[in-house]
């Protein structure tokens, strides 16, 4: 085991995938010699050459269109979009092409070997265009898988599984904790399951559900609540699409309470989908309404970023409201 931060774990996963399968290629803006603006692709070009690891022109729709074609041909494409905020020029390629390739061809063709990596999320003084969490736009798109890791160990195992999965995956990396999150990561090849949530801490009074960097916030809030004698069960959703309703509902049936939290705006956020499904399945088990602690329904701010974020104090207050309902 080695100590790695999340960037090193992502880099290590890419190395592992490229060593194991020579058809894996990495493309995107500045991913070549420079190693990407966050250095997630450092040393890949040196090791695997300019034909397998290459800079693209600055055109997101081109990157994903190209990667779609590459994947449909049978190569394994790992495309980087430099910031999640800049994925939208590629929206058409992802929503109308990537996600529908298999369905429209009756299963003859697919781009299942495509993985799109992109950093997302706030807390870095990035303002409107370096902070967004766009998962909900893509979660409304049948045909995609959406995955996000909470720490370096998860990042390597989930990214390797995403690259090898026979479906296109949007792999969203929580950039706020790229360097801050450090932990043990096995040097060897391993995968973690897609579509499976994980109970990271067992508890009996309330379920706290989140993903990515928000997991750290949930853990802090849970620690505050524990001091009040409230036992929190913390669940990492890990895969946003398809999501693991079974694990989430089993937890809610045990605790009777649920808080879902994400940075993205509340309205139409993925917490809404989870809330709807859980109340359908667990209605008679619920002791209080399912609560959401999310970003406000505004563009992502700069001067008021701290106030906007669904921080541990807001989650803690929601826990108390849920308990005292």
């Amino acid at each position: 085991m080695a100590q790695m931060n999340m960037l090193q774990a992502v880099n290590n996963a890419l190395m592992t995938a490229m060593e194991e399968n020579e058809r894996v290629m990495v493309l995107g803006e500045d991913v070549g010699h420079f190693g990407g603006v966050f250095r997630a692709t450092s040393n890949l070009q040196e090791k695997f050459g300019r034909e397998r690891v290459f800079n693209t022109p600055l055109v997101e729709q081109g990157i994903i269109g190209f990667a779609n074609g590459l994947a449909s041909q049978g190569s394994v494409a790992v495309a980087e979009i430099q910031f999640g905020d800049y994925i939208f020029p590629a929206f058409d390629q992802i929503v109308n092409e990537t996600a529908k390739w298999r369905y429209r061809s009756g299963g003859q063709f697919s781009v299942g070997s495509l993985t799109i990596r992109t950093p997302y999320g706030g807390g870095i003084a990035g303002g409107l265009y370096h902070s967004q969490s766009p998962e909900a736009y893509f979660a409304h798109t049948p045909g995609m898988k959406i995955v996000t890791p909470r720490n370096p160990y998860q990042a390597k195992g989930l990214l390797l599984a995403s690259i090898r999965d026979d479906n296109p995956v949007l792999f969203m990396e929580p950039k706020r904790i790229y360097r801050a999150s450090v932990g043990d990561v096995p040097e060897e090849d391993y995968e973690l399951p897609l579509g499976k949530a994980e109970v990271v801490k067992e508890g009996s009074d309330i379920t706290l559900l989140a993903w990515g960097a928000q997991m750290e916030v949930m853990e802090k809030a849970a620690a505050m609540a524990e001091k009040d004698g409230i036992s929190c069960e913390i669940v990492d959703l890990r895969s946003i699409l398809p999501w693991d309703a079974e694990t989430v509902c089993a937890s809610v049936e045990k605790t009777g309470r649920l808080i879902v939290s994400h940075e993205a705006p509340q309205t139409g956020g993925f917490a809404a989908e989870i809330s709807a499904k859980v109340q359908e399945r667990c209605f008679l088990y619920l002791e209080s309404p399912i609560m959401r602690v999310c970003g406000l329904d505004t563009p992502f701010p700069l001067a008021h970023e701290k106030e906007y974020m669904p921080d541990e104090l807001k989650v803690y207050e929601a826990i108390k409201r849920s308990m005292n309902f």
Binding site: N55, P57, L58, Y86, G126, Q266, T298, L302
Partner: protein
Amino acid sequence: MKTRNHLSDVGVVNQVNIISNGLIDIPMLQILAPDGTVLEGAVEPELSKETALKIFQTMQFIRVLDERMVAAQRQGRISFYLASTGEEAASAASAAALSFDDMIMSQYREQAALAYRGYTTEQFMNQMFSNEKEPNKGRQMPIHYGAKELNFMTISSPLGTQIPQAAGYAYGQKMEGKDAMTICYFGEGAASEGDFHAGLNMAAVLSCPVIFFCRNNGYAISTPADEQFKGDGIASRGIGYGIKTIRVDGNDALAIYAATQKAREIAVSEKCPVLIEAMSYRLAAHSTSDDPTGYRSKEEEAQWKAKDPIARMANWLVSKGWLNQEENAKHVEAMRQDVLTELKRVEKVPVCPIDDLVTDVYSEVPWHLEEQLKDLKEHIKKYPEHYPKTAGRVE
């Protein structure tokens, strides 16, 4: 047509030669030699002493501002900065050739155009410190300026989006019968975006009075121009779209002024777009988040430092008898003091009150945002020490 890498030899002519059609090897307008002497056969543009000095002082001011604010970012006083070192002439001299009524839609490295329009040191600081005096209400990262009274559209980070928007804005100006047009700045990297192609094509087809001003500075973050495109730069694309085009030395303020003046005349009188490709070099890092030592050599940078647009114009001004270098040195020192004084003063100005988190999402604040704001204020009142920027002013 030969393939041109950014740094390969660029042919030079010394006449304003707007290419209207045809696929040729596109030369670069140059009036001043790197030492500031007027090239033989070149025609100086009609440029008053007052305008020439205003261009020059704007360039010097931006050089001073950039140096100071990069340092301020390193000290943690602002979160981010993006310098335009080496490219000051492209923005300052082009802005000088415009009419004040012309709209400027910029990318994010054209602070010299904004300064030329009259944006003050205090206004620059207000934006960079995201404070309550800033008309964009502190909502964007530093350097995302916007000033309606100066006809300078608020900057957006996503690359190239302003290109088709500029075509639409210019079409509106034409329909309104105004004697005004739009200038749209962007880099050679942004010219790879789909919006570039959409924008140029629509501007040509719909006869929009717009200048597309490409600062070809050789790099998009770490990606050099020769990994960005093949073919003869950005200028050749204008010809492909049927757009009148000129390539100009981006470090030659006189050439930029002459080219932009001519381009504006064409755009307004003929109601059509013109593309200018200014060949320059991003001497600065992409931003304070970037370190160019990882992808380019000191030797390459030194080649371009020798072509510094400020020194070049200074020598020309001295030869005209319009500039005294000793007095100028004092003037630059005064600029430094002004920037430092404003920085120290403005960094104490508070951010907007929390109510401004939810304004301007729509023209009026809808019920759900009223509700979210109310909940947020109650929360801040409960934990004021955790939200020090706003807690003191929550009612």
